[in-house]
């Protein structure tokens, strides 16, 4: 009886747990098949998510970067930004549709221009750290062990063979083809490793959900402790 009283949604805290459980079970019902309950929650989910975004990603941004600078701080030049961005809204018009491409062009140009910094920041340090792998023991690198040497040689071989596989502009044949096939196999090792490593994190997600169902909803102690 005590359990039942604690279990039923008789106060706000219990009600919140019941809502959460209902959401979870409705989503899980997709595993059986697509059904009206899932459909109901899916549409609710998208509606909620779309509504939520308007606050932090719509109103907040416009207020912070447009309204505040103009009306409170008095930087008048910002006034032109929103009308210019509004050109985007002509996208649905057949006659004026091309005007939206001016704004799209701005966005494309900006992302192209920004890519130079991204390329340097993201890929050049990686190139550099690849170079810090000596292939034999010498006085220049006194701390090196033979184990590390083998790892380094392997690293360079794998890198170069996978890179060979990802060339397109000539026909791969003879030794190049063999190297490319090895590259593809090394690639499969990498992909398998990622798959195996991700399983743990995904299982943890579901364990968290089932723990919530058992502990918070059904009030069962977990772990036998």
């Amino acid at each position: 009886m005590d359990w039942l009283q604690a279990f039923l949604p008789l106060n706000l805290e219990r009600l919140s747990v019941w809502i959460g459980v209902l959401c979870t079970l409705a989503i899980y019902s997709l595993l059986y098949r697509e059904n009206p309950i899932y459909r109901f929650f899916e549409h609710m989910y998208i509606g909620l998510a779309a509504g939520y975004s308007l606050g932090p990603l719509g109103v907040d941004i416009l207020y912070r970067y447009w309204i505040e600078p103009i009306w409170i701080q008095g930087y008048w030049a910002w006034a032109f930004v929103v009308p210019y961005g509004m050109y985007l809204y002509f996208i649905f018009s057949e006659r004026y549709g091309w005007i939206s491409r001016i704004v799209i062009g701005t966005l494309i140009g900006a992302s192209a221009g920004l890519f130079f910094q991204e390329f340097s920041s993201r890929y050049l340090p990686q190139l550099n750290s690849t170079l810090q792998k000596p292939l034999w023991v010498s006085d220049a690198n006194p701390d090196l062990t033979y184990g590390m040497i083998i790892n380094n040689i392997l690293f360079v071989i794998i890198l170069l063979s996978v890179l060979t596989y990802f060339t397109f502009s000539y026909e791969q044949r003879g030794p190049v083809k063999r190297v490319a096939i090895w590259g593809r196999w090394f690639l499969m090792i990498g992909l398998g490793a990622i798959f195996g490593n991700t399983v743990m994190a995904r299982m943890a997600l579901m364990i968290g959900r089932i723990y919530y169902l058992l502990n918070d909803w059904l009030l069962i102690r977990v772990g036998g402790g």
């Binding site: 994190a201 299982m203 968290g208 069962i220 772990g223 402790g225």
Partner: protein
């Protein structure tokens, strides 16, 4: 076996997890070096030292982050250390506040005197910079609406640099932010989820992080060091057995495929 309906697979996985969560099964874990370092760092603290816990997880990563946070708070209370908690989102504030309240109540730790929750800050980098220069005015109020300047636990504390340690319990990439902006004299310890851990080894090597508890597995090791029964052990065991289940099914599938092939060859 080859064309088994995938719904059976789902059901088996679900039941498997429920069983191993409920079974009172304890498999001892071997303690990994980052967890041992984490433990040793907290052991070095003196009663009354101040520790900041940054807790940024919510419902999704509960299985990995909740046992970590519970074990860490238990250890801090055992060392009679003062601690404050901070989050970057409302939902992680609520979940960590509820959890800390439950765990501290069990041990008779006083809110306001020995620990406090600072609520959430929207922008972590800005908040850290602010806490370094003027902590009470950056946070302003704790989660219960008391002015930070009036909380006994941080009485007279003006800056984050007066803390001894920062512990980041998180599923996101917040630790580089703490490393970049927090004072150099404050040690940083890290409790990531298992996917985030791989990227953190460079920080561990360079000493920017002093110790690390990885996911539920790390929490299990930590519980073992503390000698407590927490959620880490059942969660980590359940993960082990679900992996075993998947591997068993992969092998079964291959076995069935080979059998089919043999039969087809015999018939031909």
């Amino acid at each position: 076996m080859l064309s088994v309906d995938r719904r059976w697979l789902y059901l088996i996985l679900f039941v498997n997890i429920v069983i191993f969560l409920l079974a009172p099964l304890r498999m001892p874990a071997s303690i990994s070096p980052p967890v041992q370092k984490f433990y040793d760092e907290i052991e070095k603290l003196q009663p009354g030292d101040l520790v900041m816990i940054s807790s940024n997880w919510s419902a999704s990563t509960l299985a990995e982050n909740q046992p970590q946070l519970e074990a860490v708070i238990t250890h801090l209370m055992r060392k009679q250390v003062r601690f404050t908690i901070i989050s970057i989102e409302a939902q992680s504030r609520d979940i960590s506040y509820r959890l800390a309240e439950r765990v501290t109540k069990e041990k008779g730790y006083q809110y306001g005197e020995q620990w406090a929750h600072f609520g959430f800050v929207p922008n972590l980098a800005v908040a850290i910079k602010g806490m370094v220069t003027d902590l009470p005015n950056t946070i302003k109020q704790d989660v219960r609406g008391t002015a930070v300047a009036e909380l006994p636990v941080v009485q007279g504390v003006k800056s984050l640099s007066e803390y001894k340690m920062i512990i980041d319990v998180t599923p996101t990439g917040s630790v580089p932010v703490w490393i970049s902006y927090s004072p150099k004299n404050v040690k940083i310890l890290y409790c990531p989820t298992s996917v985030m851990a791989a990227e953190a080894y460079t920080y561990l090597d360079s000493g920017q992080i002093k110790g690390m508890i990885t996911g539920a597995k790390g929490a299990q090791e930590y519980e073992q060091l503390l000698g407590i029964t927490g959620l880490g052990a059942p969660f980590a065991n359940t993960i082990s057995f679900s992996h075993l289940l998947i591997i068993a099914f992969i092998l079964l599938g291959n076995f069935a495929m080979l059998m089919n092939r043999l039969q087809a060859r015999r018939e031909a």
